[in-house]
């Protein structure tokens, strides 16, 4: 029995004797203590948590050599082998901060990204859908960001002294030929695609990646929605039409169908139109979105949109002093199919094909114009992740474009041309250190019509100046083939060219973002002519040039005020061109020196109401007054607009419903976009003028959307 007691005692004693104490302090590299860290031996239960002062005391029964681990959120794990036979043990640990996506380095020069999935973005798709001045249009929402110009009579987007055609839209990596609805003179248009179709948007105002070509100024890259996971049906009734949508899901497949019919006849009776409509604008469209998961990582996406729009108006052609009966019918089909997959741990494949057909029928009194444009496009790209610090992306694009215009006046004219374009790019993103990243790439393009090969180097880099701030730079050369209206007459023209230089500083922390960007742009090879409607190829040349420089500011704050989000965007620009029929270098009509947007959004939880308001300001725009000696010497008064959006979440017949009211120019500012002058002087030798105004001064749209 004694022996038994001895044995029991012996075991207890050895236990007590074996207990080893390890102590120390856990701190970060700056010496601040870190409380709450997990300190333990790998593969055992033995461990402890550091206290408020970062100190810890770990008692253990383990023996021999053990692996001590210290871990804490946001820090790299510390591992250290400890020999437990050598007491006393003191281990002080310095934990190093991990670089993750939020604090990590991302090249930000020139681009605004909206996404649901990534964290370090400035906008989400919801922001685009809920910006009041946008009225549900993607381009309208982007116009509330810095670097853009307010050009109300167009509705298209103008970036940093560039014309609207210098901004190209890409869907799932492929360029879109006709992203806007066809429009009438001085009646603003809008984008064909609903913002709800896309879960990611990159708006780049310059210096973009070698992946994108054929855009002198800017790129809007849209990514269609991912696979849906929930069946739903919704119907929306608007004061201007109806919309119905249905989503059906299977295990690895989803299909979304949308149909819409918009007719503004009723709307135009309420809101006084400056334009005399013979037939108010009508839009009909249908969208089909199919998604199929293939294997573990593969995704097949198909997307198809059919649009129809038509209108007829009595247009006052002020230059020629005559009334014109203009009828417009536009049909557009857009189809794309993409396939993405991981080929191995190291390679990712993106591929796609796209088709776009656009037909525009315009009748001006007895003149008939039919314009057909067709694009077929194929794309393949590979990304390599072999090295953690070097990401390599390469790809090829082939597109074929056919243009045909048939004009019937007293005589008949047929203007046609085809262009095949082949392009390839190679780009690598290099993380030099935790503080420095660079993107180096190049793009080459061949255009069969222009018989021209162009090379475009692109370079950008970022340097982290603090844990939440960084400086980025970007440089690039950009080429774009001349607009169809010039190529149809003179196919011997060459590509227009621009250079971008960008310097950017960004601070992002705690739901607040500050960003300032300075840029310089040089244009060359711009199209010049003497007479806008000349049918003589020799009248067109590539002798134009221009430049733009400016500063863009952006401030967004989702933190200071409860349930409130606001942003301020301001742009200053100085831009001059000598192109088209300009006699000298002058600021073009679409450039206003100062542009400001204030966007305010607040959710009033108590009354389930979401309120958004936008104030937009643009300083006066230049126009040419033939009554004066100097070219482009006139300046319009400044532009002002306050738009309001109110969304009320409620239920109708026990179904979730949204009531939405949009009002633009709520205070009724009388905006003027420019002036038109008679082409011939009157009796006293003066040219009579007329202001270009919005087709409607103030309007409201109301909609109710029900989730069935």
């Amino acid at each position: 029995m004694k022996q038994l007691l001895f044995i029991v005692l012996f075991f207890t004693l050895t236990d007590l004797l074996a207990q080893v104490e390890i102590s120390g302090t856990i701190s970060d590299v700056k010496g601040n203590p870190i409380p709450g860290t997990n300190i333990y031996f790998a593969g055992t239960y033995e461990g402890t948590t550091s206290g408020a002062d970062g100190e810890y005391l770990l008692k253990t029964n383990l023996t021999g050599i053990q692996n001590l681990i210290v871990s804490y959120i946001g820090y790299t794990n510390f591992e250290h082998e400890v020999d437990l036979s050598k007491v006393p043990i003191t281990i002080d640990v310095l934990l190093v901060e991990e670089t993750n996506e939020i604090d990590g380095i991302v090249i930000t020069a020139g681009s605004f990204e909206a996404s649901d999935t990534k964290k370090a973005v400035l906008l989400t798709p919801m922001d685009i859908a809920t910006t009041p001045s946008a009225q549900g249009d993607i381009y309208g929402a982007l116009a509330a960001l810095p670097g853009t110009q307010k050009v109300g009579e167009s509705g298209k987007i103008f970036v940093r002294g560039g014309e609207s055609y210098e901004t190209k839209t890409y869907i799932d990596g492929m360029m879109v030929q006709s992203p806007y609805f066809s429009n009438m003179p001085d009646v603003p248009t809008r984008g064909r695609f609903s913002p709800l179709l896309f879960s990611g948007t990159i708006f780049s105002t310059g210096g973009y990646s070698a992946e994108y070509g054929q855009a002198l100024s800017s790129v809007v890259a849209l990514n269609t929605n991912d696979i849906e996971t929930k069946d739903k049906t919704s119907i929306s009734l608007m004061t201007v039409g109806v919309n119905a949508a249905h989503v059906e899901c299977w295990d690895n497949t989803s299909l979304a169908i949308t149909g819409e019919y918009i007719n503004s006849t009723f709307h135009n009776l309420i809101f006084k139109q400056e334009v005399e409509w013979f037939r108010a604008p009508v839009i009909a469209d249908g969208t089909l979105m199919f998604r199929q998961k293939i294997g573990k990582n593969g995704m097949l996406k198909s997307f198809g949109v059919y649009n129809y729009n038509s209108m007829r108006m009595n247009y006052e052609n002020f230059e020629l002093n005559q009334m014109e009966n203009i009828n417009l019918i536009n049909n557009n089909i857009y189809l794309n199919t993409t396939y993405e997959d991981l080929l191995s741990q190291k390679w990712m494949l993106e591929s796609g094909i796209a088709y776009n057909f656009d037909r525009e029928d315009v009748d001006i009194d007895t003149t008939k114009l039919v314009t057909n444009k067709t694009t077929q496009l194929a794309r393949i790209a590979f990304t390599n992740f072999t090295s953690k610090n070097v990401l390599l992306k390469m790809g090829m694009n082939f597109s074929s474009f056919q243009y045909g215009q048939h004009i019937r006046m007293e005589d008949m004219y047929n203007l046609t041309f085809n262009n095949n374009q082949f392009s390839a790019f190679l780009e690598s993103e290099i993380t030099v250190s935790k503080k420095i990243a660079a993107r180096v790439g190049g793009r080459a393009e061949f255009n069969s019509l222009l018989k021209e090969v162009t090379f475009m180097p692109r370079l950008s880099a970022a340097y982290k100046t603090g844990s939440h701030s960084q400086i980025s730079i970007a440089y690039g050369i950009f080429y774009q083939r001349p607009e169809d209206d010039y190529l149809k007459i003179n196919p011997g023209l060459i590509s227009e060219k621009s250079y971008h230089y960008i310097l950017n500083y960004q601070y992002q922390h705690n739901l607040r973002t500050f960003r300032i960007e300075a840029y310089l742009k040089e244009y060359s090879n711009l199209i010049k002519f003497n007479d806008q409607y000349s049918g003589n190829p020799d009248d067109y040349s590539n002798s134009g040039n221009g430049n733009a420089r400016g500063i863009d500011l952006f401030w967004r704050d989702k933190r200071t005020f409860k349930d409130t989000d606001y942003w301020i965007s301001y742009s200053f620009i100085n831009s001059k061109r000598n192109y088209k029929d300009y006699p000298i270098l002058a600021t073009p009509h679409f450039v206003s020196a100062h542009n400001l947007s204030l966007v305010y959004k607040r959710f009033f939880t108590a009354i389930n109401t979401y309120v958004g308001a936008t104030y937009s300001y643009a300083s006066g725009r230049p126009y040419h007054d033939p009554n004066t000696q100097n070219f482009m010497n006139g300046k319009t008064k400044s532009y002002n607009d306050i738009s309001l959006g109110i969304t009320y979440l409620t239920s109708v017949f026990k179904k979730e419903a949204i009531l939405h009211l949009m009002v633009n120019n709520i205070l009724g500012f009388e905006n003027v976009y420019g002036y038109r002058y008679r082409s011939a002087p009157d009796e006293i030798g003066a040219f009579e003028s007329k202001a270009i105004r919005p087709p409607v001064q103030r309007q409201a749209v109301f909609l109710i959307s029900i989730l069935l």
Partner: protein, 212 residues
């Protein structure tokens, strides 16, 4: 005498062999006890650390990952600094994802997933509300599909309805019968093991009392 020593030695050997499992249950049970008394970020963090240590040793058990994740979700709710919530929730999600790999058809994991999402919404209610609300419903439906007797499904569903405005199909009237269902389910609920999830009953009672 030899026999005594032998039997002791054998019993030690046996105990050693048995103890890994026993130790796991013991340390889990005591850690779950600690978790019940957590009130502060510090206390929850200490529990989370404990469960993570257990998870590190018992790499095939989903429960330690589940509780560690649960502790981090609670920390994220207590954390006042909005900018710190997402990293905490990333950690919680990371642990939960491992648990999902170990037990892909466990109803409790979908419940925890639907408990995590509201905290994501609190970071940016306007930007994330719509998106995550759908995900909450989806997770709860999935949890119900896997085990309709799990009372926590109805408790969380009721809480969600309660916090939703009346006009959007929420409010006290709608949520009360769901709390009642949860109460019934809680009363008949028997956890699979001593260390299986068994929280929410008291909170459900408190909510019901508030509504009465």
């Amino acid at each position: 005498m030899k026999n005594v020593i032998l039997s002791i030695v054998i019993s030690f050997v046996f105990m050693q062999a048995y103890s890994t499992d026993d130790q796991y249950f013991k340390i889990m049970a005591s850690s779950i006890d600690d978790l019940d008394y957590c009130k502060t970020v510090e206390a929850y963090l200490e529990c989370a650390n404990k469960f993570e240590r257990i998870a590190n040793k018992e790499k095939t058990e989903w429960l330690p990952y589940y509780y560690a994740s649960f502790a981090y979700v609670n920390i994220s709710f207590l954390e006042q600094d909005v900018s710190k919530k997402d990293p905490l929730l990333d950690k919680a999600q990371e642990l939960l994802d491992i648990a999902f790999q170990l037990a892909p058809t466990e109803s409790e994991l979908f419940v925890l997933q639907s408990f995590l999402y509201p905290s994501r919404i609190m970071v940016d209610p306007m930007g994330r509300g719509m998106l995550y609300l759908d995900k909450i419903y989806e997770s709860l439906d999935k949890a119900e599909e896997l085990n309709a007797d799990n009372p926590r499904i109805y408790f969380l569903r009721a809480i969600n309805k309660l916090n939703l405005p009346e006009s959007m199909g929420g409010g006290a009237e709608i949520s009360k019968p769901i709390f009642k269902i949860a109460e019934e389910k809680f009363n008949s609920f028997v956890p699979a093991t001593e260390i299986s999830p068994n929280w929410g009953k008291e909170a459900n009672e408190i909510e019901l009392q508030k509504l009465n």
